[in-house]
Symmetry: C2
Subunit: 428 residues, 2 copies
């Protein structure tokens, strides 16, 4: 773990390689997959699943029997924990519901905004060795609360053709019964354009590897997507009130995600930085995923020593981290200074894994500096709005001359004609 | 103008060429431009502006003198109309403001969502022969209401190096004083990555031609964009209460935008369809932009005869039009059946140009079927949210076992460690 000054870090941020997008190398493969799925439909999906997941499928769909089997395979302690997490996530996301509204500015004029849920949503859940039941909750619950009628999940099968039982149990718990055994760019293509088995959706959400992310960029526009997610990140701002062992544990929890995950600490003193560094070394040795953690910490981990909190917050806003922990005195009083962060965790007892699984706010968060313009996944991602405009005959006649003036300025005389005809031929 | 049955139209929709994305041919040029702007900065902008806009620039920025000059060049009737439009747009968009909020579910637990305006926004305004002061209002006002501190405009200059005076006056009226004389993909690249003169922004909004749209797709992810806009569309649902001359005028107002604009009418009887068709022919002959209109109507215009309103609404929801006019009895009672449309205009006196310029709702709307998942531009496009999570020591200890269970199921044991350390070493 490198310790650097704020100035050294600022110089590092200036290096364009810090944010350079190197994913164009994937394009050849990803575009080839999308093309074949659009052309061959299910056949292409079955072929790619055999090639990439080493699973020979007879059916792309998880069966009722497989759902039943999954219930018997999971740890008995899992279901109560899952149910509590679900309740917490529902409670938070219920507060995000939006209403249609209208206003009557003047007699004869009604304006408004109609809120309509998306019709069909596809949720991508990563597979492979790991299980992600928490992503099932985080992606499905806000869609359900928004009122989306049709929600399907795609996830890559294991080589035996089965889907992870924890994913199945979580899906059943949130009321999703349609799960397709497809992963990678091929799953994104199927959701975007449809095949014989998989219906085209309006929006694709959920995390995934680099192929999935790149495929989402390509289908974007033909279908909506949640975001293009990069590696996970944490930034912990720590002052002298932060226990170094807590700070270290939280940094390491992000580092274990994968080698490209980034864990950054901004400490207000050099002494604290050294203590945290020592704790990181001590705890790493005891952790199961030590190899991944060491690579992540060596490549992307850093402790920046800031002269004060003002400097620390400037650095935070420049990084725009996915997860931000404020382990400082009066953390909540300082939230006002944070402009860019996906989620903000306050105090010494709000570690980031609390948000990953349990507290209620969504764990799908903007990465790679995109918190400068993007938000956590929410109910607002599963609705869209339509404007409503209603003018009476009197109202349009009153406004006619001004509208015609602007239309003529823009050279759009047929626009002017559409207004003028209502003035000149009012009783048509 | 072709008249077809609902069945004939359904078959046409099945033809994949209807939605096929043909813009990949632009990629070579657009990526070349982006690469050069990233490499050469202002020099590239000046070079491309000379090449594409035939303007030799000494400065990329509109000067104070040019703003002053513009005030003297505009039609005196324009300013009052602009001011009224501005007031209407502000009034509507003020209703879209969102607040930060928090909840205390239980003692020791605080969750919330912080709303923060974007820091810097770039607005693209098309240039060429036409002027688009209305786009200045529609793109800048919601950003201002959201609280965006830095808003800049880029627009291609005329060959004499000047920017259209109506654009300048509108910009000044909404408080934007930084206008760059750059258009096309080069403007999008400059806003996305920055040059010596143009600062990198968090989000790019505004309409543009095919190069602009494609460049926006490419920079998406490095920067936020509003949408990838396609040609303009109108869909008018007309029953026997709709005056055929009004319907025709409104269809033609969309057709004049450009040859690829689409004007579709869904009529509830064949007689009405014939009357509208006749009116279209009659009015087209009298319109200034007759040539564009004829091409648009011949290539993309159609009148679909539906057997009843239920069938008409099914077709509307399938098309998901940018603009929808309901020129039917009890229009407002039928809004409930519309799921997919950018803006919905009710009755015989709410023609689409009213929304383009004046009524208040935004005229930047989802095109090309994207109203199935996208919304009009709004204040919500210029803010982003951060989740807030705060647990007390007691609260995290109560939840610890359940969080650890889920973390272990996902195989993320360092996550479990970050929770466990707060349980086992509570007084660290």
């Amino acid at each position: 773990m490198n310790i650097l000054t704020a100035e050294q870090f600022a110089n590092e941020m200036k290096d364009p390689s810090f944010t350079m997008n190197n994913e164009q190398a994937l394009d050849h493969t990803v575009l080839e997959i999308i093309k074949h799925v659009r052309k061959d439909g299910d056949d292409a999906l079955i072929r790619y699943t055999e090639k990439f997941d080493r699973a020979k499928l007879n059916s792309l769909t998880v069966s009722e029997d497989e759902f039943k089997e999954a219930r018997e395979l999971v740890d008995p302690a899992f279901l109560p924990a899952l149910k509590q997490a679900k309740e917490n996530i529902e409670s938070f996301h219920n507060a995000q519901k939006e209403q249609s509204w209208f206003m009557n500015k003047e007699p004869g004029i009604m304006l408004g905004q109609k809120v309509t849920p998306l019709d069909k949503v596809g949720v991508y859940i990563p597979g492979g060795k790991a299980a992600y039941p928490s992503s099932v909750l985080m992606d499905v619950i806000p869609a359900k609360i928004a009122g989306v009628k049709k929600i399907v999940i795609t996830t890559p099968p294991q080589p035996n053709g089965k889907v992870n039982p924890y994913v199945l149990v979580a899906a059943e718990e949130v009321g999703v019964h349609t799960i397709y055994k497809v992963g990678g760019a091929q799953a994104i293509a199927a959701l975007a354009y449809g095949t014989e088995t998989i219906e085209k959706v309006a929006k694709i959400v959920g995390p995934g590897n680099a192929y999935v992310a790149r495929a989402k960029k390509w289908v974007y526009g033909d279908v909506a997507i949640d975001m293009i997610a990069g590696p996970s990140e944490i930034c912990v701002v720590a002052d002298e009130t932060a226990p170094p062992n807590y700070v270290a544990a939280d940094l390491l929890s992000q580092a274990e995600h994968d080698e490209s995950a980034s864990a950054i600490c901004i400490a207000t003193s050099n002494t604290l930085a050294e203590q945290i560094k020592l704790e990181i070394e001590k705890q790493t040795a005891t952790l199961e995923r030590k190899e991944i953690i060491e690579q992540s910490i060596n490549q992307h981990g850093k402790i920046i020593v800031a002269s004060d909190l003002t400097e620390a917050f400037t650095i935070v806003n420049e990084i725009a981290p996915e997860h931000l922990q404020l382990m400082i005195k009066n953390a909540s009083d300082n939230v006002q200074f944070i402009e860019n962060a996906g989620a903000i965790f306050l105090g010494n007892y709000s570690p980031e894994p609390l948000g990953d699984y349990f507290a209620g706010p969504n764990h799908t968060l903007p990465t790679n500096g995109t918190a400068k313009f993007a938000s956590p996944l929410g109910v607002y991602d599963f609705i869209k709005k339509s404007s409503i405009i209603s003018y009476s005959k009197d109202a349009i006649q009153d406004a006619a001359d001004q509208i015609i003036t602007i239309a003529n300025v823009e050279g759009l005389t047929a626009h002017a004609n559409s207004i003028r005809i209502r003035k000149d031929e009012p009783n048509a």
